[in-house]
Symmetry: C2
Subunit: 373 residues, 2 copies
């Protein structure tokens, strides 16, 4: 059911097709994040219009609200949120560690308090899989433990636990129409990452995720870890770099053999009035007074509805007037910018020109990356 | 340029076509309100999809922010907000009286303080027209004074002032591509309304507005005033009942010869989680726990994107999870519900069955009206 076919290669970059029950995914692919069964401020129709193909939703959030059993009873996540195309859910592990104020981890699982009402809950690998089976995404994740990348001792413990939990997650799976990916951990230690890559690859899951990056380490560390990990992975499985990233991260990730990405950055930036734009602008903050009478679109080269219809002056007006439409228009643009970049990259992998374009893209998006911190 | 052709009549109801520089308007018509150059949470594409034809925007708000001169320099309101179809602006009079905390009225105009920053401003008929000419809507309004309907003495003074201001507004007009409507005032006094209707009709403006209703009077008083006013108006001019209304108001207004309506109600209700639905539901508050597992659309008879795509359970989830998409989806439905009602009414005027349908519609929407207060 979950066939992955590589259609072209250029150095370590790959273009492929991943077959899922809700349609074929062309890779590399960037997935917008719909945390609470909605990509914030956008309708599924908007997502179709920007050519989104894969949407991620969060197990932790949906378990707490509206509840995974409710989603199941409403016909599953695709039907519930009106997205008939491929979907991915994470395992809830990352959110338990990042959002819950109090949590107690043991080898069996994690007890945590809801960020909504403080109520106590417990996730185990078995529970995470049961929730994800109720939600019904096409791609689901093994339950894992994300460590502080700078704590080597903890990273080793968390990695070991992640491996045991991956085995238990696989054993707990009952549905055959969901691709359960194992997750590689290991912080920023090459030896741990190497061991984790080999172990997770040995589980023979239909795809492999790389977790615990873009969580505080440097770009150089992230690249080094990818350089350690991807050569150890089977060629015929899609590789998913979780929670990444910026335009620069996508370029660098694809160059290191990554196939799937997701990130809240485009929609989060939109809520903070920022727009992706390549050089010479870098990232634009549309609230800035300099745009008050700017009749240009955010990005003159962009084909999105926002750029084809509205000026920077109008978007700035919406921001200043506190009109919610600003967030919608900026989300459309920011997501489309990343999807367009990934699609462009894909076509260069297909025609063999990817490697020769990497430096140009990195330069074009450098202003953006530089402004990130 | 502003030809109004009545294509069918049924008792006092009329179906017509009003020609504007940005296209023909089929009447009766309901105009969504885009206070700050945006119908809250919706794109112009959404408005097209629900078959909105006329959009209103507010002179008071746009004068304060982003400023009418900026809108003019950006190419006018149509271009600025991406709405290439007919637009209407009010005169700012109503907002000066309802939103500004301190205001001093004299025969020349009104000095008021901005609701945004407390700064002092002055509107006169000449200023209101100059602003509306900068904004560039197809239909613009004479500057008027809206009185407390229960204060007869004040209503007489405000009516007289409104008449002088209408004459001055007409004199101030320099553009020939905008239809300047005079506004009838007179509170809930039949003698004042009658005098005002005759006076405004004598000005021979391309359309006539009825102001100062739906501002605190009873439904019976509103209907009585319409019964006084519309028989005194020329047949060949469109009649615009400002700031109205509910589904029931539209039915009753059209039955009394009204052609144009606008109201913030559909979008305001949407922000408060409420949806229009005919009997047996009346108005639905989608936040209600009773909808948590309701797999039906808001209205099974509705053709809008929201009703064709999403369940009540999903919309309730968005509301509970504080997702802004809830407001977008409810705005789409609520506006479409009124536009669909008006279009249905129009077709019955065309085929001569309007009168026989009025009681049925009023019964169907009664639950809605009953819940309004």
């Amino acid at each position: 059911m979950f066939q992955f076919t590589i259609t072209a290669r250029n150095a370590r970059a790959r273009a492929g097709i991943f077959t899922t029950p809700h349609g074929d995914l062309q890779t590399p692919v960037f997935a917008p994040v719909g945390t609470q069964a909605t990509v914030k401020t956008l309708t599924p129709k908007h997502l179709k219009e920007i050519n989104a193909t894969l949407v991620l939703s969060n197990t932790y959030h949906l378990y707490l609200r509206p509840g995974d059993e409710l989603v199941r009873d409403m016909g599953g996540l695709h039907k519930f949120m009106g997205w008939p195309n491929p979907m991915l859910t994470d395992s809830g592990g990352f959110q338990v560690f990042s959002l819950s104020k109090t949590r107690v981890i043991d080898d069996d699982g994690v007890t945590f308090k809801s960020h909504i009402d403080g109520s106590t809950h417990r996730f185990t690998p078995e529970k995470s899989i049961a929730i994800q089976e109720n939600l019904g995404a096409d791609i689901i994740m093994a339950f894992d433990e994300c460590s502080d990348p700078n704590d080597k001792a903890y990273s080793a413990i968390a990695m070991e636990r992640t491996h045991r939990w991956a085995e238990r997650s696989l054993k707990a799976q009952t549905r055959t129409d969901q691709a359960l990916f194992g997750i590689i951990q290991g912080g920023v230690q090459a030896d741990l990452r190497s061991a984790s890559a080999k172990f997770i690859a040995s589980l023979n899951t239909p795809g492999i995720a790389i977790g615990g990056l873009s969580v505080g380490e440097t770009k150089e560390e992230m690249h080094a870890m990818l350089d350690v990990v991807t050569p150890l992975l089977p060629e015929n499985k899609p590789r998913y770099l979780m929670g990444v990233g910026t335009p620069e991260d996508l370029i660098n990730g694809i160059a290191r053999g990554i196939d799937i990405f997701d990130c809240v950055l485009p929609t989060r930036l939109a809520r903070h009035h920022s727009a992706f734009a390549p050089e010479p602008f870098g990232r634009l903050n549309l609230m800035n007074a300099t745009f008050a009478r700017d009749t240009r679109p955010i990005d003159e080269t962009c084909d999105c509805y926002t750029c084809q219809t509205f000026t920077r002056a109008y978007i700035r007006h919406l921001i200043i007037a506190k009109e919610l439409l600003a967030g919608t228009l900026l989300s459309i643009h920011n997501l489309r910018a990343l999807i367009r970049l990934v699609n462009e990259i894909r076509s260069t992998i297909m025609d063999g020109t990817f490697e020769s374009r990497v430096d140009g893209w990195l330069t074009a998006w450098h202003g953006n990356a530089a402004r990130k911190s």
